[in-house]
Assembly symmetry: D3
Homo-oligomer: 315 residues x 6
């Protein structure tokens, strides 16, 4: 008597030529692995895990907006405390994994990395109240700066700029504390959600507002003062990438703009290189700017000439 009544032989047996494809993929992997010496598995940080962690940190910071709307005075600290605890436990594991990829190759063993991850995570937690204060200033700036905004709740829930800045401030903190890989991953999660791409190395002052936001790019070494306002598709980028004698790009040197306090940059403007936009300046839409401008400047496309450019004629 037979137990399995399935006959697996026959016509379908080689439906996909699985063995050949799997062999080909193995060969491809091995060609790329031509140098092997680490001798251990390095677990990558998990994008999904980190997305959940950042979402829960948002709930810790703004419990009634991003956590649970029905929290009461007697329950809110329990919620914050329990969410914070579980989130930090998960974060330190991701930080540890990230250190495997950003720490010097000759670093101490895994136990040391776990301790460093705990230290980073503890310092990160200690900084959360200060981050919250900055974020409150950002939300206030959005309310003050957009005539379409009707309530704080709308800014918290409906503005991609709010998400981008919240994620950036968390990512920047991790970047500063020595977890650059995790920081980049958080930045890319925000990028995917909002179309706003802020490198976690960028230093951004209080009361920051980005309206609409799609296509905004802020580079690694950019420095923004307080009360800066940006619109969609603004680039604060590098102008050129110096290479060393061997032709490899030199990493880490300052190459993005400094934007001083109270600057407004309108949609589509492109600001490149280590230039300074003086305090209180306004940069008009679509402007292409590669030189520093003094405080109080009003940089714009020359309107008259552009009216020529944009010819309106009957067809």
């Amino acid at each position: 008597m037979k137990i399995d009544t399935f006959d697996l032989s026959g016509a379908r047996a080689s439906r996909w030529n699985l063995d050949a494809v799997i062999d080909g993929l193995r060969v491809s992997r091995e060609a790329a692995h031509n140098i092997r010496h680490h001798g251990r598995i390095r677990e990558l940080p998990s994008r999904e895990a980190l997305a959940g962690i950042v979402s829960d940190l948002s709930a810790v910071l703004f419990p009634t907006h991003y956590g649970r709307p029905n929290l009461t005075d007697e329950s809110i600290d329990y919620f914050v405390g329990d969410t914070l605890n579980t989130t930090l436990n998960r974060l330190t594991e991701q930080v540890r994994r990230g250190l495997l990829f950003s720490a010097p190759a000759d670093a101490a063993g895994e136990a040391t990395l776990a301790e460093r991850a705990d230290d980073i995570t503890r310092a990160f937690a200690a900084g959360l109240p200060a981050i919250r204060a900055l974020l409150v200033s950002d939300v206030q700036a959005a309310f003050a700066g957009d005539p379409a905004a009707t309530s704080v709740a709308e800014i918290m829930l409906c503005y991609p700029g709010t998400i981008a800045i919240l994620y950036h401030r968390l990512a920047h903190s991790l970047h500063q504390l020595g977890a650059p890989f995790l920081a980049r991953l958080i930045a890319d999660i925000a990028h995917s959600l909002t179309g706003i791409d802020i490198h976690p190395g960028a230093r951004i002052g209080a009361s920051f507002f980005i309206d609409h936001g799609t296509g905004v790019v802020i580079g690694e070494t950019a420095i923004l003062g307080q009360r800066v306002r940006l619109y969609q598709a603004v680039t604060l980028g590098a102008k050129r990438f110096p290479a060393d004698a061997s032709g490899a790009l030199v990493k880490g040197i300052p190459r993005h703009p400094i934007v001083e306090d109270d600057v407004v940059i309108y949609a589509g403007a492109t600001v490149l290189g280590r230039i300074t936009i003086g305090a209180g300046s306004t940069v008009g839409g679509n402007v292409w700017l590669t030189q520093s401008v003094p405080p109080g400047s009003n940089v714009s496309q020359a309107q008259m000439r552009h009216d020529d450019c944009a010819e309106a004629k009957p067809r």
Copy 2:
């Protein structure tokens, strides 16, 4: 005998300094809460719930494309009816929550809000067939306007513009009926999915088509006629924001363009202020336009001069 065999004391007891962080966050919350008088919990609308509602409304409107592909003549109305009923039940709850944030502070009690939410939801439901007719015109416009489109199904499933317009027409209906908060939330969900940011206040005629779409921004008071076509990164924005005597921005005044019937605006064009683009006009790519143009205009970057601008030379 002990029941719990876990020893929770010891070195890990203060792993995260939880109490200190939680205290810091409470202080931060209380600093922001310096004015309190409402005396009740206001439940925020849920972005997740609303995303599900809009997805189900899409299925109600186009059951075989966004609902279930195997519906039959005998089953389709049951599907539409049951999905519509459950969706309206969930929508009215979200509308009610949204009213808490957009209704006048001295509004009547919660019971009244629930009734208003029911009224809005009922009127919204009554308008769905008309919305569907508009959307059919939009899909037809896409098929006619894109040489890469090969079938209606492709436009329904693979075009971000289709999603953006569908969500906008639903959001605009709620906006008109007095649920502006929910409307904004739907618009931002669409923005996140597509990179297209249409304020729910914008009024848009039939047969509207957006191709590619990333970076498109359409402002709150914009008015678009029929058969308008837009490409990626087009902005229909405000030029300036008037402030009142106290320096606060004046909200709600017309400040975005009027685009008449049969206008095409190519990628990257920026159209700002309460200007009118006359019927049948074409606005070229990257054009910066802040003045009205008459019907039949053909607005473009002056090609000759731009060929100068874009210098091609050997390196």
Copy 3:
């Protein structure tokens, strides 16, 4: 005795006027269905299913980055083999559904379509090792081309360009093999995740790198050589759409640029029409280019004149 204790009559009975709305929607559907002759249900491809399939294919190609980080030498081929098998089973079903919408209407019966779907899927599987080799070259190009990149793992996990290219190379393979609908759906999933819109028909050489990426558009008939690098908001589009005698757009003719080897195109540049950018050229940011340029060109906004355009003056 009564069993059900619910009284469903009364005031709520017509809460939503369901019957009227459902009738209205049916009328709307039937107005659009005025031509009926197929006589069978056509199941649409499922976007959710396809998103899962592409995610699993990514895991097949890069098991430790996108699959499971703890795979070992003894287990990796089992993982690849099992994931590949289940994914191909699911893919062939989606391919079959897609063929219903792209195959000629007079095509043979469903059985034939299922066989064609199996053939396409088998050929697609056979091409995966070659696709993997191309993707490895792309990741190497990113590492070489971005001074902010610190590790290969960062490029695999944190760069939207990596996702966009991975999805494109899979979509392009399906497009070439005769599954254009599925290919478009994959491209739109990548577009939604990254803001990068590459038509699956576009032909792109090895070592391709897109930085930041939001707003990039690459058209159906574009051809890109090896070692091409693009920045955010670059458009490789069509200049005009020829219509036939009846006014319908002519589909499929070459209408997008040819970009030869080793070309770099900076942020916001718009390149339109069937022009050729010669090998080794550089196209500057925000350039508007509609004419071919020879190899080695350096196309840019005329800097001097633009410094005029961007006037900096005290307010």
Copy 4:
């Protein structure tokens, strides 16, 4: 440069001796498969799918108890209709799979099985109103028969007997219509949920009540009249299993009891063989009964003698 930074070689490479175990399992499978001739894959019915189907059928029958409690007069038929349609679509697929295992081996092709499955499913659907009427009688019997019952809702939600009978009546209908495999699977799902094991072949009249129920067993050929009441651990079983000349058990012959109308059987009673318990009889707890009794009998353990048996004495 290497792309994958994981080194999979080394000590963990043979952590589980996977290859050897997999070989051993393959050998074991092949030993059991020594007869192969079917030449095709037979998909088994899915227990999980069927559990969902029966749960949804329960909702179709009692929409406000097992479906959605907030249904209204205007929405209830839409809910019933849509749930019924999707459930029947899923049921017919499971019926088709079950037929592969219960139909004669030389049955016609798969197309024929699909048609038979549709026929069975359609007939099953047609019988649902009659099944509902029987179930209403069962619930009424529970309310009348248990002094602890306080409401119909309690009987619907808190009595395992209700679930067991509901599942049995559905399973019996499928059994009668020619889908015995599915019927058995439903019976076993109910058994796992309730501890009550009723073979789907058993024929049970209206107003049936099982109290507590754990351990009840009712055999394949049992016949129960109307208004029968059972308590926990009652067995209506077979006394012996006749074997044929070759020693194999003879299947299908009547071998379980006939229980006439208005019989009550108390906890732990064991009734075996093709005997008849006359109408209106009572069988006491723990009774062991293998002979028929006339109508109106009162079968019990002889109390006096049993008081002897149960000796109470000081320790």
Copy 5:
């Protein structure tokens, strides 16, 4: 041009005769609804919701066993507090629903019911520490009473009796506080998980232990002292159900046994009626007991005679 390309007409249109079945079900519902006067929807308690609530209450009581094993001294109270708060919020809603079915028909309005639900829930919460103390005594009794038990953790995780008693003590508290419907639902959830059926009305002292447990039934008015031990299939049931003049069963009168302190009842024993088993007695396996026995009794099947009964003879 048609938008929907599906043809829903044709052969499949009446696949299931949906309309006829739905009509039949509606007629069946209406026949059962012949008395209607409540005029409002009564939402039933949700079994799924309650199962989650009880699971979370278990975690509140034993955080490291049923909650999270990695809790620390600094985090455990936050976990307990947050879990308790969310669980009580969900419980009060279910209590409110249950009151609709158990409260007098002429009870005050819904607002009053919500207040009563809050009162019951608050009192229930206040009793949790005392319930925990009882449960600790039960676990200790299990450890002391089963030679196979190797650790407290094993008793917490692997003994169905532990679950049955935990659920019963929670259910009994709700029963006492005036939420009998919810209490019954919890009891039936435990019954389904464990095969142990304890009516929430039963009063059970500390240090209670049930071994194996399948088939145990304890009736509504049973009273058990301290340190009682039961084995599988023990029934503490009613002997007869008095009916009133109209023939309806009289509900609520004491009809189940009183079991005093330190009694052990072995597997399969059936104890029926309002009898008393005196303190310190032992009731042997399979004993049928319907009369009170004094303290210190040792009730068993008369072994000698039973050895006759169980005849061992060669076949």
Copy 6:
């Protein structure tokens, strides 16, 4: 301006008296924790994780019945290999946790436990083919022993006895290899699913069959030969529990029956103590047996006298 618009003060602030309840629970926990010395967190095995592991092991053993029905010759080993690998990885973690609770308190460090867990898991994996062979004999015994069984697939999917034996054979292997806690947990999962309670220590020969099964209990030191058949509610239990001088139960001594080859025990029979039922014997339903019987015995209730017991008389 305030950011959070929620007022959390007021009447609801002490809705649940959370602080008092949490304090009470902490006091209760600390009372039970009066002895603390371990100084580390011991993570408990997870019942949910283990349930998933056992389910996946079932799929490894019988891929087409419990895994995926559409496996083919080219894919089946990949499925088995990948499922086995991931399952063993998860199992070793649970084994490690279990060792914390069953290993001697003075055991070596966590690293050693992890190695022991790996050793146990590797040995367990090596034994899977032999376990599969036993299970095949069990299924064949069911098919041969139940006249209602119509196919092997029915036995695999619809018989609780199959699940109980499968889980037991896995649990017994872990028990033998030194993972008794995990083994007990698997046994209790099977008990909850089937109502059949087999201690993992029990030794059971090939071709074992349990029909119906609810209420079966098999004790820790029971030994069953080959071709044993049991019906529902059979107990193979201990008769008494010897205590040591201090009154504590002596653990681990043989105290359950030995059942030799080819024995059948019918429903409800109770067999207690370290007795031997000789090969080929039959034990009748409801028999109470506490003495050994020689091979070939036919033990039953004395039918004549029992017919007296069960008196049938007119009421």
